[in-house]
């Protein structure tokens, strides 16, 4: 599993790791009972502090997205794959869009209208611009 982490992103790194795991679950590239990489592996791959990875895993566990099997590692929980994660992920995207809109002096209503317009002009599946 390849996660994308960006230090210029305003989200703390442990939150970025959590969001990447959630994203993989929503996309179906991670399924219930799939193992997450070990803390050591992920820390090494991402070049991040292992404490940060452990923190992300603890929070995922607390949120019911993942669970720990003693001596075996961390696994994706079945509960993580119902609609809740989808909604949590959508809420996160919406939150970031709202902040960005506010920074640009755009109101929530204007943003929602603009998203509808933009969605209409794009292919519903690939979101590619239509000719």
């Amino acid at each position: 599993m390849q996660l994308a982490i960006n230090t210029a992103d305003p989200r703390p790194i442990y939150v970025q790791i959590m969001d990447e795991v959630r994203r993989a679950i929503v996309l179906g590239t991670l399924r219930p009972e799939d193992p997450l990489p070990s803390v050591r592996q992920l820390a090494s791959d991402l070049r991040v502090n292992p404490n940060t990875v452990a923190q992300a895993y603890r929070e995922l566990e607390r949120a019911g997205v993942a669970y720990v099997r003693r001596g075996q590692g961390t696994f994706v929980a079945a509960a993580g794959t119902n609609g809740t994660e989808r909604r949590a992920l959508a809420a996160g995207v919406a939150e970031r869009a709202l902040v960005e809109a506010h920074r640009n002096g755009v109101s929530a209503e204007e943003l929602i209208d603009a998203i509808r317009d933009a969605a209409r002009s794009r292919d519903p599946h690939t979101l590619a611009e239509q000719p």
Binding site: T7, P10, A43, S44, R47, V48, N51, T52, H102
Partner: protein
Amino acid sequence: MSPVLPTDLSTGSLAVRTQGLAKRFGRETALDGVNLQVPEGAVYVLVGPNGAGKSTTFKVLMDLVRTDEGTAEVFGLDPRVRGPEVRAQIGYVPERHDWGYGWMRVGRLLQHHATFYPTWDAEYAARLAEVFGLKMDRKFGSLSKGQGRRVHLTMALAHRPRLLVLDEPTDGLDPVMLDETLGLLMDHITETPTTVVISTHQVHDVDRLADHVGVMRDGKLMMQVPRDELHRKLRRYRAEVPDGWAGPAALNGAVLRKGSFGREIQWSIWGEEREVVQQLTSAGATVRDAAPLTLADAAIALLSRRERA
């Protein structure tokens, strides 16, 4: 009012604690009341410009420099009294690698170094040497900066010390080697419980590693704080303000850096976001954005802050 930048990390057990370190070299003040506190298990990044006193502080821990005033403790031991015991527990990468042994071949230097450390892990040393691409038959003195750094990193890591003191460890490494080195370092601290202190002026290199941050300037430790707290409390606020706006008096001193574009201000401010926004708003500003800073930007905001009388 001056914002009280946090400098106390002494809530848990500390691997390193210095109190009031002061050192003058002739007329130059190198250290001026430094209270360094490195929690056990932390990856503590010490940031500051050249000449801030980072290297001198590290040398005090190694008992390579003796201060005029103040005390130091490494795992509770005073380096001045228990130097050999302290150094046995530290893996040290010095800022400069021309401290002697230039005539020795790299392989021989590693063997020589190993004899001082009962905990030397020869297998691990060989693995590090391979990843770092060390050329064993080259003379140490003929190595480039980056090659020398890799030899020092091998010597520092291979005895699996409780404390790593890395003075500009990424200096002179090319981007690929930098990436490899950071990976090795992360492997190392997951395998071996280690406290790490890293000094750097290339803050970006170590942004992902740091869980504690110290900022040093002119021999003073201006701030030391957990990374989370820095992320939460130092933010860049963007707000629309009326003409001739001076800002709320309550924030005086908490504003570390000011910028503006038209009638939009862009200020880096230390404080709880909710309180800062409230103060800006009640002073007539419309806050558009409160974004955390990258470690590099935070360092710039803290270091470029002008001293106030």
